[in-house]
């Protein structure tokens, strides 16, 4: 087996600034208030993912999942440690892709595909497939800014999943989609997984994680809380924080009906 993603003692800190202008900063200094503060979003996290594995990345809101995904995707660089990946990466970060609101859906498909590393010929070849999957209909030539949130994320998902990538990152892709689309997405992601690509799937829905993944990584306040078996991982998340049976039930249902 070959390593696909190596995360080695990675730390990422954010600086929180309470004041922006010189006047505010000066006033705060005079009053001996704190001017800035650091916040460790990802704290000394290490793990290795083999080619073809599918990982469920879980954790509460604000536990550092999206930051970790951004580090793996290359949008951010770690402050300490190193992230290594093999091959082309495609995926969605924090619901929806990076689209340009003033461009039409069509132009955005080309732009997004180019950013993900596709050539013009490759995009043209897959264009119909992408449009069909996104199912935005006659809005294809409308500015993306006018899209509904569902259409927006459908288009983003569709472009990302059609890229011949070695690693696919999916961050809360199913959060805004409707039921038929969720079903389609999960099916498509299963195909991606079965084709031997590495999959990192961020979700709160235990059911779909169980279905999609063969390993779960849990983040807690930026630290690696759990890394291992799916069922144990899901259990781990549930023990931490709310033990509310109702929510758990709901989550299970959300996963189950897909």
């Amino acid at each position: 087996m070959t390593e696909s993603i190596v995360v080695d003692q990675v730390t990422k800190e954010f600086t929180l600034r309470y004041h922006r202008t010189f006047k505010q900063v000066a006033m705060a200094r005079l009053k001996r208030q704190q001017v800035s503060n650091t916040f460790t979003a990802v704290d000394d996290v290490s793990f290795t993912v083999e080619q073809g594995e599918s990982i469920g990345l879980m954790g509460l809101n604000g536990s550092g999942k999206s930051t970790l995904l951004k580090l793996v995707n290359g949008i951010m660089r770690p402050d300490q440690g190193r992230v290594l990946t093999r091959g082309r990466i495609a995926g969605l970060i924090a619901t929806g892709a990076g689209f340009h609101p003033q461009l039409t859906g069509r132009d955005n498909i080309f732009l997004n595909a180019a950013i993900l590393g596709m050539s013009e010929a490759e995009t043209k070849r897959k264009f119909d497939e992408i449009v069909e999957f996104a199912d935005v209909g006659r809005f294809l030539d409308t500015e993306v800014g006018h899209y509904s949130s569902g259409m927006y994320s459908r288009l983003g998902f569709s472009v990302a999943i059609h890229v011949d990538s070695d690693i696919f990152l999916a961050d809360e892709v199913l959060a805004v989609g409707d039921k038929p689309f969720k079903k389609k997405c999960l099916q498509r992601m299963q195909e991606v997984r079965d084709s031997g690509r590495t999959l990192v799937y961020v979700s709160h829905a235990a059911g779909s994680v169980r279905k999609m993944c063969d390993r779960v990584i849990v983040l807690e306040h930026g630290k690696l809380g759990f890394d291992g078996d799916v069922d144990a991982g899901i259990k781990y998340v549930k023990y931490d924080g709310d033990t509310d049976d109702a929510t758990e039930q709901e989550d299970e249902e959300l996963g189950a009906d897909i």
Binding site: T2, E3, V6, F14, T15, K70, L71, V72, N73, G74, I75, M76, R77, R82, V83, L84, T85, R86, G87, R88, I89, I93, A94, G96, A97, G98, F99, H100, P101, Q102, L103, D107, F110, L111, N112, A114, I115, L116, S119, E120, D164, D166, E191, V192, D194, S195, G196, R197
Partner: protein, 303 residues
């Protein structure tokens, strides 16, 4: 779908040797990476150009009308109100040559400075070399020079100018210097603007200074007379050399006696100065890249 699996297998079977290596996903070679991914750059540039003329009836024709009207205004004001044509032959052409160069540069700086902040959505969610945005802004600004040069050339031909090979070399050198300095500035300021939005206000002041710091609304000969012996400082500005080269390319040839104009109105060793200015601007570009790379790490979180 089995064809996905098939393709993947084919890729693996066929290219076992070329299997990608483990590498940091954020690794980038800066500007080199930008020019390696020309297709993406082309998309970004054409998008900017299309956006500029979106919804206008005349579209691209505006890029001819604007400089033409500007030229006519200067021609009228300089020639008939200020009577400057008596002192400096074809002063409107002298000035327009300068306007083109300062126009590229100021446009590079102001559009470049805003470029990263304006493309927030892409910067925060997609992995691409972020130098892409300032570079695209600079290329869009440079693209608009073509219509201006066409208008200038027509005005020159009208006054009896014939293009000469050395003049064309001067034109190319001049545009290269300006675009390189503009790109250096755009790189530095686009990153800095993420941290302090004050930068775009500073840029306006810089742009004003640039307009008066080059021999555009006054002939170089005045500088040579007033600051005799200190002109080296004035000419150290790569943009001053660039404007003089542009005037060498168009204005000098449009006068009655080009040789006499060149010897009185242009500094000596103009081409050597031009090449030095180009080298200096390449150094500035390297510095701009360095600044950008240093600031880049914190860009996504500070946007």
């Amino acid at each position: 779908m089995s064809h996905v699996a098939d393709r993947r297998e084919a890729r693996h079977a066929g290219g076992q040797g070329v299997q990608p290596q483990l590498a940091p996903p954020s690794a980038t070679t800066g500007l080199f990476e930008v020019f390696r991914r020309r297709y993406l750059l082309r998309l970004l540039v054409s998008r900017e150009i299309a956006a500029r003329y979106q919804g206008s009836a005349l579209g691209m024709i505006w890029s001819y009308i604007n400089p033409l009207s500007q030229f006519l205004i200067y021609y009228f004001v300089m020639g008939f109100i200020l009577n400057l044509h008596d002192n400096v032959e074809n002063f409107a052409i002298h000035m327009f040559a300068g306007i083109i160069i300062t126009g590229i540069f100021t446009e590079c700086l102001s559009a470049g400075t805003r470029s990263v902040v304006r493309n927030k959505g892409l910067v925060q969610k997609m992995a691409l070399p972020r130098e892409m945005f300032p570079v695209a802004a600079v290329l869009v600004s440079a693209y608009h020079v073509l219509p201006e040069i066409v208008i200038l050339a027509i005005a020159c031909v009208w006054t009896g100018w014939t293009p000469d090979p050395l003049g064309m070399v001067a034109l190319v050198l001049s545009v290269l210097i300006t675009v390189t300095v503009g790109m250096a500035g755009a790189l530095m300021l686009s990153a800095a603007n993420v941290f302090f939005r004050d930068i775009s206000n500073v840029v306006q002041i810089v742009n004003n200074l640039v307009r008066f710091g080059v021999p555009m609304i006054y002939p170089y000969i005045l500088v040579a007379q007033r600051f005799h012996g200190h002109t080296e400082i004035y000419l150290a500005n790569p943009l001053a050399s660039s404007v003089l080269l542009m005037q060498r390319a168009f204005w000098v040839g449009s006068t009655e006696d080009p040789a006499a104009t060149a010897s009185t109105h242009l500094p000596d060793h103009l081409f050597t100065r031009g090449i030095m200015a180009l080298l200096l601007s390449l150094v500035l570009l390297g510095f701009g890249q360095l600044v950008f790379s240093r600031l880049e790490n914190k860009i996504p979180e500070r946007l």
